[in-house]
């Protein structure tokens, strides 16, 4: 299958390894990944902070860029949710944006949805001999309703030991500009999350959103906990021949 990648601005700029892992994984499974180069950002940050007009422009750019693709993979739960839940609301009723958004929105998928629902695989042939905790991110869990798809994928990874994370469903406190606007509360939430992660004894914390991982990972590093953070795609791309670093 030919799958269009929406790598997202944060992944593109700060976490290119996630995008590369997605490409390796999809190609290993026999699919073709394409990267429409006109893509930039879904507009989530602008939208969530109250800058609606800027978000609208980015939404228009997005729907134009991906109009001709049947399946769009966004390896970021919150960006996928932004497009699926909010794009239609961004355009006025009956507007061209509203119609285009309604068309493109259901085709935008998170990695775990693409693998489990569309490609029909849970065992992707990965090998990752480490103890892993999974954090189900708010948008992945509540807006996309990913359910147990990510953990099913992780359980099928050879060598991987999945450990239980206490208060897993609680927000890590990142929340985009929330982390900057309410630094004390955000940090307090992050510290509680990091403490729960460290208590699992895991070597790696996994999620489907690098923004949350950046926040939790930065806290874990400051606490010198020794726990690394990794996007689900990186673990699934890992094999014996090409182990994830």
């Amino acid at each position: 299958m030919r799958i269009a990648l929406f790598i997202t601005c944060v992944n593109d700029t700060l976490f290119p390894r996630t995008g590369q892992a997605v490409v390796r994984l999809l190609e290993r499974l026999g699919h073709e990944a394409v990267f429409p180069t006109e893509q930039t950002c879904c507009g989530q940050m602008h939208f969530n902070t109250g800058y609606r007009r800027d978000a609208q422009k980015l939404a228009v750019r997005f729907v134009r860029t991906f109009a001709d693709h049947d399946v769009v993979l966004a390896p970021s739960g919150s960006c996928a949710a932004m497009i699926r839940d909010n794009y239609a609301r961004l355009g006025r009723t009956g507007s061209r944006l509203e119609r285009a958004a309604a068309e493109v929105a259901p085709r935008v998928l998170d990695l775990s949805e693409l693998l489990v629902d569309v490609l029909g695989v849970t065992d992707v042939g990965a090998y990752f001999p480490h103890r892993v905790a999974y954090h189900p991110t708010c948008h992945g869990m509540r807006l996309l309703g990913l359910g147990d798809r990510p953990t099913r994928l992780l359980r099928a990874v050879r060598g991987l030991e999945l450990v239980e994370l206490a208060d897993a469903e609680e927000c890590c406190g990142f929340g985009g500009t929330f982390a900057v606007k309410n630094p004390d509360v955000s940090a307090a939430m992050g510290w509680d999350k990091a403490r729960n992660v460290a208590a699992t004894g895991a070597e790696v914390l996994c999620a489907v959103d690098n923004s949350c991982l950046m926040h939790i990972g930065g806290t874990l590093r400051r606490q010198r906990s020794g726990v690394r953070v990794m996007h689900l795609a990186e673990i699934l791309a890992s094999t014996e021949k090409e182990p994830a670093r």
């Binding site: 790598i7 601005c9 593109d12 700029t13 700060l14 976490f15 290119p16 390894r17 995008g19 590369q20 490409v23 990267f35 180069t37 006109e38 893509q39 930039t40 950002c41 507009g43 940050m45 602008h46 939208f47 969530n48 902070t49 109250g50 800058y51 800027d54 422009k57 980015l58 750019r61 708010c138 948008h139 509540r142 807006l143 469903e169 609680e170 927000c171 406190g173 990142f174 929340g175 985009g176 500009t177 929330f178 982390a179 900057v180 606007k181 309410n182 630094p183 004390d184 509360v185 955000s186 940090a187 307090a188 939430m189 992050g190 950046m214 926040h215 990972g217 930065g218 806290t219 590093r221």
Partner: protein
């Protein structure tokens, strides 16, 4: 809204000290987690909670759409049952009406059953200014009043206090207000409740005027409904000669039958009970039974403005169950006082800026007092999409000027994202300067970040450059 909240700092500042208070954090964490757990259990027992929730939302929406008609019907029914209806456009008007009604009785003391509407309008302060003392009779509300404190939770206003603190407050203050606390008072919950009961008993038997709120007002019959756990409310509603109820205009349900849905939704969502211990209902006056005079003050105080906002009006569905507070990770770490309003937590963050407007610092900061995690929406028994309203109100704040620094950052991001070449250029610039970015920053907006977290390392090559290189190498 209540004068006690005027001049509050913006949420992030108010939250700072709360977050740093380990006792407060401990009290809140313990209390909210306990309620959360019981709520989850009893909600799980209902066969079709989702259907019930949808019904609750639908009834409220339907009512709000024709609120004017239902209000007129309520007025007719209350009047026909021997009550008096007063209309108050704002807090001052409502306070003047209640003060006048109490004065007319010749009394200078009133008992109160917990009412958010009267807190919203600052009734106790207004009465005090007129020489009338208001005694709170709800246990948690009594603790707040005796401690000269402010409520911090919709349902458990003294949630921020633990047992030891409550014992200390009772011992220190009860004697000044009436029946003193026993000298050997312990911090056993039962002993504390008993001390409060004795303190209040005398009050109920001697006070001739009561002020209440209401959870619901049934338009077709003119019936008012109060749900409570202690029975103190029932004493207030039945013993005094004059009863004055201050009720927000959104509390209406059209028919008696509509109540059924809410009597199931509310206790389970709020206290985690299958049914609440005391449900009191009264319709006008009944000779020889209960108060001889009944006044209903219908309060607008910004509610018609909220009604006019298509997105924001869903906040008026709220039945004040406080479930959203109990699941909110932000509330759990800041407590209610940081919200600078009678309505704290997620519902406060959307209701307060709508009722008061977003002109002041604190009101403009409230729509941002959320990480948009969505837990509040998930739990709300009338399906208020709180994150949606938060973002909607953020747009309003931005439209009225926003923060210049933030504006500049957003404009720069917009510019870079407006075209993939600009984005690539920005990425390469950042990548080129990667060795210059330290783990901790001394200045700028990212300081707050690096105070407690490390920044991620900027990679040498963004994804798009890696992709282009790969395409070229593959000779595609």
């Amino acid at each position: 809204m209540s004068g006690t909240f005027l001049g509050m700092p913006a949420f992030p500042t108010a939250a700072e000290s709360a977050v740093a208070d380990p006792q407060l954090r401990h009290n809140l964490r313990k209390a909210t987690r306990t309620i959360r757990r019981t709520r989850r259990t009893v909600v799980g027992e209902v066969d079709d909670w989702a259907g019930l929730r949808a019904a609750g939302a639908a009834i409220k929406d339907r009512t709000l759409r024709h609120l004017d008609r239902h209000l007129e019907r309520l007025e007719e029914a209350v009047t026909a049952a021997g009550g008096h209806v007063h209309w108050a456009a704002d807090a001052d008007e409502a306070n003047a009406i209640v003060t006048g009604l109490v004065r007319a009785t010749g009394e200078s003391e009133v008992v109160k059953v917990k009412s958010m509407a009267t807190q919203e309008i600052g009734l106790n302060e207004a009465l005090a200014a007129a020489g009338i003392t208001a005694y709170e009779t709800d246990l948690a509300e009594l603790i707040v009043q005796l401690g000269e404190d402010r409520p911090s939770h919709i349902l458990v206003p003294a949630i921020h206090r633990n047992r030891a603190e409550i014992r200390e407050i009772f011992l220190r203050t009860m004697a000044d207000w009436g029946v003193p606390a026993p000298d050997d008072l312990t911090d056993d919950p039962r002993a504390l409740a008993e001390a409060a009961r004795r303190h209040l008993r005398d009050r109920f038997l001697t006070t001739r005027v009561a002020v209440s709120g209401a959870n619901f007002a049934v338009a077709e019959t003119g019936t008012l409904v109060v749900l409570e756990s202690e029975g103190n409310g029932r004493m207030c509603l039945t013993l005094p000669e004059t009863l004055i109820s201050v009720v927000g205009i959104e509390k209406l349900v059209p028919t008696w039958q509509d109540l059924e849905v809410f009597l199931r939704l509310l206790p389970r969502s709020s206290t985690g009970e299958r049914m609440n211990p005391y449900t009191s209902m009264w319709t006008g006056v009944a000779p020889g039974d209960g108060p001889r005079e009944f006044h209903l003050v219908l309060l607008d105080n910004g509610r018609t403005d909220v009604l006019a906002d298509e997105v924001g009006r869903q906040a008026l569905r709220c039945i004040r169950c406080s479930a959203c507070l109990n699941v909110c990770p932000v509330y759990e770490r800041t407590g209610g006082h940081a919200y600078g309003s009678v309505y704290p937590g997620p519902i406060g963050a959307i209701l307060t800026p709508q009722l008061r407007g977003t002109a002041s610092e604190v009101d403009a900061s409230l729509p941002y007092a959320s990480s948009l995690c969505g837990a509040c929406f998930e739990v709300c028994p009338v399906a208020i999409d709180i994150p949606e309203v938060l973002v909607h109100l953020r747009e309003r704040v931005v439209e009225q000027g926003g923060r210049p620094g933030e504006r500049a950052v957003m404009a720069a991001a917009s510019w870079a994202f407006g075209d993939e070449r600009r984005l690539g250029w920005a990425q390469r610039t950042a990548g080129g300067a990667r060795s210059l970015v330290p783990r901790r920053l001394p200045l700028g907006p990212a300081v707050a970040w690096t105070d407690t977290r490390d920044l991620p390392e900027i990679p040498p090559e963004p994804f798009r450059d890696w992709w282009a290189r790969r395409e070229k190498e593959d000779g595609r």
